[in-house]
Each structure stands twice: as C-alpha cells, then as structure tokens.
C-alpha cells in the first residue's frame, strides 16, 4: 500500500487536523468526538443541515460544510459510518432553533447510527427530520432488501437544500426538497482499479489488467458486472442507459449532469466522459443545463467515474446557482 499518510490508525484524525489548519475561518473541527461545523454555527433561526458518513469520500462531507451547504459533517473511520454520539453532538452544536435535517446516505450502518442519533436528539428536545438518499441504480431497489445506495445525489442534495435553508425555509420544506432531489436524481459508477482501505492495507478487490467493474459502490463494493475495459463512450452508455431507464428523467427534460471522479481518475478523463455523456444525452433528447465535473464523492484512490443526473426545474436551478462557500464547492461568494 502506497499512500501519503502517517499511522494507519491516525488517518482520519490527521486529515481533520489538516482541515482544521487549512480552513480556520470557514470551519471548526471538534476532535472528541469528531465532527466539523461551520465556523459561525449555530446560525440562529436557520434550519441546520447535518450529514456524515465514512471517511474516504473527500471532499464529501467535511468539504461541504459552510455557507449555503452543510452546517455540520460527521466523519467516520474510513468507509465506516460515524457513531450516534458524533451525530448527536454535531446536531446540538449547529441547532439554531429551527430544526435539524439529517441527510443520510442509504447504507445500513449510516441509517442505523443516524436513527439512534435522531432519537437521542429528539429526547433532548431538538426537532430532527431525516432524509435517506438512495440514488444508485446499480442496485436493484426493493422493499425486502437494504435498497439502493446513496451516492452522487447526496452532493447535489446538500448543495440545493443548503441554499434553501439559507433562504429561511422551514424544516419540513427543506426535508421535502431533499426528498424531491433524491426522487429526481439517479446515479451509477464504475471502477478501473480498486481502492485500498488504509487499515486493510491491500486492494478491496482484484481487477485484471483489462477489466473494469460496472456499478461499483463508493466503498469498493463489487458492482453489477465485471467486464473488459471499454471506451469512454461505451462506459458512458453503460452508466447512463440504466439511469434513463430508471424513470424520473425523460426526453425533453433539463438535467444537471454530474461527472464525478472516484478519486484516482484525473480531470482530463472526466472531460472526455463529459463529452460522451453530452452526446449521449443529446441523442436521447435530454438537455444538460447545469454540470459539475470533478472529484466530489470519491472512494479513496480508486480509478473510475460516476455519473449522476438530476432533473432540474426552475426552483432547483435557482437553488443550485445560489452562492455557496465551502472548502470543496464555492461560487458566488
């Protein structure tokens, strides 16, 4: 394993110390338990947004704390959900009296831990709503399983709901908006190489020199299908067809297209993917009116990419365009 780290057990702590040193004017880092809040938290009268999840997906979530996006993020160990005490403390730290929205990616661990935290926060008199994001079409959705994973739509939901909260909308409104974003967004990812969990020290899975994994999860969970590597245009079709087939996006729609690096794939390749996505959608009558291209929800050093499409309307577009000022996403401020 080759990584720029110190002790394997200190990866998350060291990272948080880096974030604290790098962005002292924007965020506050709490070390016991681990959580990150806006430097100006709590913002009185504003619905507060709290998210969290395993580390290893940077900039998500810690990099999205700041004006116009999250109020707090709870980082777990690498690829491991954080614990209820972190979420509870973060929730208390950012609660500004207007309620707190928990944005939870749909993984059993995240869901269970956030559930416990929401119960505890409720007992302390803080109104909490939870929205579970489950946009990954690589996984068959079903009432009898853990359901779909939460992936790229999380970033979009955090941005859009963050903007709505800044506008002073109520907890119910922001939570409904979050459900709307989740309902209108679909994602799928793929990997060219495996990531290496620092504590494991070796690749999570083995891929042959000429193989790729389609439908990969952001924790290196195996995907739908292992196949021979293909061109960017073919990969785009393999990812985008299931997204379009899944429902919410139809010909004639405007979408936000989010082309994401899994961590090890550089921007030059993302732009090629974007080009092919643009063509594919054009051929299918779907118009890209907003985009986001870069490493925003990563899987350590995994090479690969994911595509997220969010159906846009005027409201979502306006909230997407609203100013945001976080270490990981910034415009208009």
């Amino acid at each position: 394993m080759k990584k720029l780290i110190n002790e394997v057990d200190d990866v998350v702590r060291d990272e948080l110390e880096g974030i604290a040193a790098a962005h002292p004017h924007d965020v506050k880092v709490n070390f016991d338990p681990f959580y990150i809040t806006r430097a100006d938290a709590p913002v009185q009268g504003k619905v507060a947004l709290v998210s969290g999840g395993g580390s290893g997906h940077e900039p998500m979530h810690g990099g999205f704390v700041g004006m116009g996006m999250l109020d707090a993020a709870c980082p777990g160990e690498v690829f491991t959900s954080p614990t209820p005490d972190q979420m509870l403390e973060a929730t208390k730290a950012v609660s500004g009296g207007a309620g707190v929205l928990h944005i939870v990616k749909n993984y059993t661990g995240d869901v269970l831990n956030f559930e416990m935290a929401a119960d505890l926060a409720g007992e302390e008199g803080i109104e909490v709503e939870s929205v579970v994001i489950d946009d990954d079409v690589a996984v068959q959705d079903s009432l009898y399983t853990a359901g779909r994973r939460g992936v790229g739509a999380t970033v979009l939901a955090e941005k859009i709901c963050g903007a709505a909260a800044e506008e002073g909308r109520s907890l119910t409104e922001v939570a409904d908006l979050c459900r709307k974003v989740n309902g209108q967004a679909r994602s799928m990812g793929m990997a060219l190489t495996s990531c290496i969990v620092p504590a494991a020290g070796q690749p999570t899975f083995e891929l042959g020199e000429d193989e790729m994994e389609i439908g990969i999860g952001i924790h290196g969970e195996p995907g739908r299908e292992r196949m021979k590597v293909a061109s960017a245009a073919e990969v785009v079709e393999l990812l985008t067809k299931p997204i379009l087939d899944d429902g919410p996006i139809s010909p004639g729609d405007n979408v936000l297209a989010f082309v994401n690096s899994m961590g090890g794939t550089p921007l030059i390749e993302l732009y090629i993917v974007y080009r092919d996505l643009h063509r594919y959608l054009e051929a299918n009558g779907v118009t890209i009116t907003r985009n986001l291209i870069g490493p925003y929800i990563t899987s350590l050093e995994m090479q690969g990419a994911s595509i997220t499409l969010l159906k846009l309307d005027d409201e979502l577009t306006r909230l997407w365009d609203a100013p945001v000022k976080t270490p990981g996403l910034r415009w208009g401020a």
């Binding site: 160990e77 491991t80 614990t83 059993t108 831990n113 996984v139 504590a199 969970e221 195996p222």
Partner: protein
C-alpha cells in the same frame, strides 16, 4: 458449570476481544468479498475500546458489564455492526436486570432479548444472510439443549454449534440486508462476516465457561 457471575461475564468479554483481534484479518477478508472490507477492523476497534473501558471504569454487576460493552460498541464501531451489536448487548443488559448469577435458561433468555433487539433495529429475518442467521440458529440450539436439562457449559456449547451451522448456512444465501445485498446473486457463495463474528462471540463464551 451450572451458572456464572460477573467475573465470568468479564472473562467472556475479554475472550471475545482476544478472538476478534486474532480473527480480525479473516473477518475483514470475508467483508471484502461481499462488503467493504472493514468488519474485522470495526469489531476490533470496538472491543479494544471495551477493554479500555472495563479497565478505566470497572462495572459492578453483570448488567453494568453488558451495558459497558453496548455503549462502547455504539460509540466506537460505527457501520452496521456497531448499532446492531450495541443494541444486542443493551437488550441483554436490560434483560439481566439485577441478577448476579446466570444459568443456562437465563442465558437463553438474554440471548433471545438480544436477538430481538437486533431484529427490531435491523429488520432482518433469517435467510437474509446476516448475523441473524447465526444468532437464531444459536438460539434454537440453546433452547433445545436447555429443555433437555443441559447445564450452562453444555447449553452454550450447543449454541456455538448452532451458530456455526447458521453461519455456514449463510454461504449459499443471496443477501437481502446490509451491504452484501447490493450484490444480489453475486453475494451467494460467500460466508457472511457478521454471522461469523456472532459465532465468534458465542464461541468465546463456550471457551471461557467450561
């Protein structure tokens, strides 16, 4: 052995920690096949913290010992297994109440309470390819054993046997809960890591209470 008290419960917990530490790589390997390669790491982090906690604030009764395990797992493990095992030990702690000795029948009751907690939290059923498969099979075995008049050691040994069968039964299953469910059919052919750690937890009891 007919029954156990606080010391034996503490010895059990220490043995769990030792066995998890030893099997950490194996559990993680199982999790890398159908999950995210961290189950051994998670459990080991949790039980190491449990040991520290038992040192720094020694519990004074069985309920307290089980509660320490529960709260530490909840606070340190994260992932799916943290709240699930945390809930299991909380429910066992609640069920044991003020008792200062546990016999075979009582242990079976505690196990039932723990399993019900896991089910309430995780909504898994037998056959979903989770820890529930090992735990339910263990409970069936211990119930039968208790009914046939076994003492604690014998009953726990039966539970371990049951857990082992339940654990191995997860191999052909297609996962419906947890991270392995994302794999659909591809999850078949692999043993569930959580079922494996459940077996380990019961095996640790049997190894301690002879």
């Amino acid at each position: 052995m007919e029954s156990i008290g606080l010391d034996e419960v503490l010895a059990w917990i220490r043995q769990i920690a030792a066995r998890i530490e030893e099997q950490r790589g194996y559990l993680t390997e199982l999790d890398s096949a159908i999950g995210d390669a961290d189950h051994g790491i998670n459990m080991n982090r949790g039980f190491k913290a449990v040991l520290e906690k038992l040192e720094s604030s020694p519990p004074t009764d069985i309920a307290g010992a089980l509660r320490t395990v529960a709260m530490t797992l909840i606070g340190k493990v994260g992932g799916a297994s943290g709240p699930l095992y945390g809930t299991m030990f909380i429910e066992m702690s609640k069920a044991v109440g003020d008792d200062d000795r546990i016999d075979a029948a009582r242990f079976a009751e505690l196990l039932r309470a723990g399993i019900d907690g896991v089910i309430a939290r995780g909504k898994a059923e037998e056959g979903d390819k989770t820890m529930i498969d090992a735990l339910e099979a263990a409970y069936r075995a211990i119930s039968e054993s208790v009914a046939s008049g076994a003492d604690l050691s014998e009953a726990v040994e039966a539970a371990v046997e049951g857990a082992k069968e339940g654990m191995e039964a997860t191999i052909p299953m297609v996962a419906r809960k947890g991270r392995a469910s994302y794999l659909g059919e591809r999850s078949a052919g692999h043993q569930d890591p959580g079922a494996t750690s459940s077996h380990l937890i019961l095996a640790a009891a049997s190894e301690t209470w002879r």
